[in-house]
Amino acid sequence: MYPRAMEDSDCVLVMGSNMAENHPVAFRWPMKAKVEHGAKLIHVDPRFTRTSAMADIYAPLRAGSDIAFLGGLVNFVLSSERWNQDPFFRTFVTTYTNAATIVSPEFRDTEDLDGVFSGLMAYTGDAKEWPFNGFIGEYEASSWQYAGGKTRNRGRIADTQHSGEQQSGTDRKDGERDPGREDGGGPNDEQSRRAVQIAESGPPYDRMVQALVKPPEQRDDTLADPRSVLQIVRRHFARYTPEMVEEVTGCPRDTFLRVAQTLLDNSGAERTSSIAYAVAWTQHTYGVQIISCAALLQLLLGNVGRPGAGVMALRGHASIQGSTDIPTLYHSIHGYMAHPSALKAHASLAEWLAEETQPTGYWAKTPSFMVSYLKSMYGPAATRANDFGYDWHPKIIGDHSHLPMFVAMNEGRVKGMFCIGQNPATSLNAKLERSGLRKLEWLVVKDNFLHETAMFWKTAPEIRAGEVATADIATEVFFFPSSQVAEYDGSFTNTQRLLQWHYKAADPPGDCRSDMYFTYQLGRRLKALYAGSTLPRDQGFINLVWDYESSDPRERQLGEPESEKILKEINGYYSNDTARHIASAEDLADDGSTSCASWIYCGVYPSAAENRSANRQADPPGVRGAHLGWGFAWPSNRRILYNRVSADPQGRPWSERKKYVWWDEAQAKWVGLDVPDFPATKPPTAQAKAGAIGMDAHSGTDAFILKPDGVGWLYVPEGLVDGPLPTHYEPAESVVRNPLYKQQSSPVLKYWKVDGNPLAALADPRFPHVITTYRLTEHYLSGAMSRWLPWLTELQPESFVELSPELAREKGIANLDRVRITSPRASVHAKALVTRRMQPLQIAGRRVHQVGMPFHWGWEGLSTGDAANEMSALVGDPNVSIHEGKAFVCDVQKA
């Protein structure tokens, strides 16, 4: 969903987010809903924040116990009379979710195995060249899939040594490698092998896609089968009672029940509720599962794809959505396709296509997306004969995200780093990050100010403490000053997938240049260095398309590229008529006749004369609409994804109040306020064609067009490495034993066991308190953009830790006292801010204190202070490797 859609919500649950403080502009819309039509606003958070101040209900909870709370909501909904009797819910889940699908008889739930799922085993998947993936365990997940189903569960964790195999490796010892698997092992089953063979003869790839089709999944539309998803979900969440929620989260039972009732009362045919979250849900060892649980809850309540409904993923930076679409992520290439990996069946384009193509649903077009992507990389040099240059494309050899990169850096395995718009010297067990930086041969920092990472070699805490001498640091550090957003043309893609163009307003001062300039000039220089090489590995650089020279002489003189040329490459154009832009992803071809860097952005720039991201036509006040004339939302300018479900199975609006997209019988097409997210003329009565590929495999009610089975997933049969259903685990460090299961924390979390990264044992008396870290409105992230600005630093001039008067009394701490906060990794100082907005909670029969600390500070700038992230650990989510910064343990003492 998108923030403005929250204007239409009847209830907004903010959890894992401090929306008012960190997304104040987006928060305009929930406030509008509250003031203008009495929407209920609920905030669930360890601290009473500026968001709580606006809420109708504030529910406190212990940091890290979100799944227990959400699981309680799921159980409440499924047990309620209304959910079981209102035909809306029954119709919605039966038609639009996988509630009726039958799961493999081999599947064992956490209910059966005391907190773990079937398939758990020791992890052995690191490549010799990259032993930094951080797993302590893994699931062989083939038992999680549907019974004889359409999904293609690849068994083990992606991007590790054995992914793609089934059941292998169980007999090997830790660290021992499977012989003869340098190439990832090739496809693992007969069907895939046949598909690869077909694909090897080149495009068109339809026959390959056809060869991948699996038999349809089994269903029980009565939802009574004990192996149906709904029954598994019921059993899984049965233990998440209001009493259990209170014991695990510390939220008083009556408050929890008020939240649950309000959410249920505001869901249904006539009303919709939305859930907003941000990084306080992601930064856990089970962050993906928290979000998954919210999606499950919203699917049960029919709060998806409808106005004022959905799960609002609030992004933490301007254009961070863009940086996952056109990714800076290591594991994906543009448009959410898997990055070629040396450890998967990706040895050739044919293998990659057979491995990564879903034969049913919209992803069946993957060959067109991939070939068009390769054409955007290598242009005319990419031909059918050379697999469109696939062999030139780099491959990954493991987890190359932030934490493993710094672990590898500490091991001396990384030579140099470009640090652009990041400040790792104050982040994530910061002392370890800085010791990694000291092992680099070179470091390039490109930023606005000489922040802590730029200065780590001169003014870091360990240098001031005399532990490390500047003279002993061999890292050569280069600093490139950055221009600001108003100093170049470009686009933002924000939270709602909305691209908005911005124009240059002024020249940057002095040598300041854009990030585009830096990348463009670096590419040009590298291409010059590679020119003439005959080495096969250099051909990718030699053939790389890099034509972004500005047509404006003034910009050319500055060395800045032309951002429209980059947008054109992203949008796509025809190979034989490069001046002709591609208007829709529907037009992409798998034979090299089209070039498109990111299929999801197709249509943003449909002709040289029309940059749709620059559109600024809002709907007039008082008119119900989706503001389709403002910017461009990918894909195809759709504002709400999966909006087919805003109509009932017959294609009629569920209610007049929540009318959005519907089937117009007279015109024989889908119409409405938004661009329908469904084949435009496919009637609601259309039957799925047996054995067909792509969208033909979907019926007129299969609304989730990207899913192979066309429905929303309550139960996730593939794609997650830590389980098909959300389960409450304790954070990697916790002050209590898991009250719900014998399994204390996630059995597959990532932990990097290196010097300087110890974890506290369960309930270690030296670290009795829960600590959470966060942002304030007045500063931004590590402070690299805000601590240099006098108007902002005077609003929050000093680093502080928030604690309750009860804890302050116990520790003899007064307001504004200087205190020391200690985790197993580090000790930092800050001022105490004693406030009743913090409160002790009763957890599993004992009183637990929580403290909170903003992570904005460092030692450079106008306002300085210790970095809260000195204390955090290198421990992360197994799906996405994000660290656990929102819940760990500490002690607080008067300094």
Binding site: K34, V35, F48, M54, T777, L795, Q796, P797, E798, R836
Partner: protein, 268 residues
Amino acid sequence: MAEPMGFFTDPTVCIGCKACEVACKQWNQLPALDDERRTMSGDSYDNTRKLDGTHWRHVKFVEQFDEDRRDGRWTMLSDVCKHCVRAGCLEVCPTGAIIRTEFDTVVIQSDACNGCKACLAACPFGVIDINPVSNTAQKCTLCYDRLQAGMEPACSQACPTDSITFGPVRELKERAGRRVVQLHAAGEHRAALYGADDKMLGGLNAFFLLVDKPEVYGLPPDPKMPSRQLVPGTLLTMLGALVVGLVSLLSFRDRRAGEAHRPDGDRS
């Protein structure tokens, strides 16, 4: 005169983001000084502390929680010059530097202000203070320069939740009245307007909605004009002006002497 213009500030939708403070300082180029604000106040998230010569908007943070947290709230209110219809500051200004504009707002003309501080004492809300950079009395101008150009004041334009609304006072009062009714219907019976009618200093063109007693937000329950002490006040002002005149003469001498020793001359 054009229609009276003003602000309606509603703390029940204020999220305390302080965008109004920053937008005000940016538009009016008010510096952050090396003063007490380099340290935390310890009073909730309020590090601005008060309105003064370089802070023309100030968000107050009021924490009201029971011991057991069963009942609690955190209210933020963006305070500002009230642009009183009967303005004490304007009345006492000996140099005529303070004027009533065509928008019925109250503005201090810096170039005519001699820094006598009479207005500081005359303001029942403690809004005005000396800006140490200009050494004149300063306060919110309700963005007189922007209004003259047909623009909205910087603070209300920056407010993401419309806690600060700008417009013709007549319209704002209607809007505020509807909000009070709405809050009463929602069970917030303490909701009341402050300064919206002419009983308070003839009416405040920048008025507020409150959900507690005015004192809780640092506002006087019954602000008074200084005119009751008009005669002694005027005498005092005249005396004050005399003293100020002498002091300024002396200070000019001091300043010249000081500048001779200060190579960077940072008084400008």
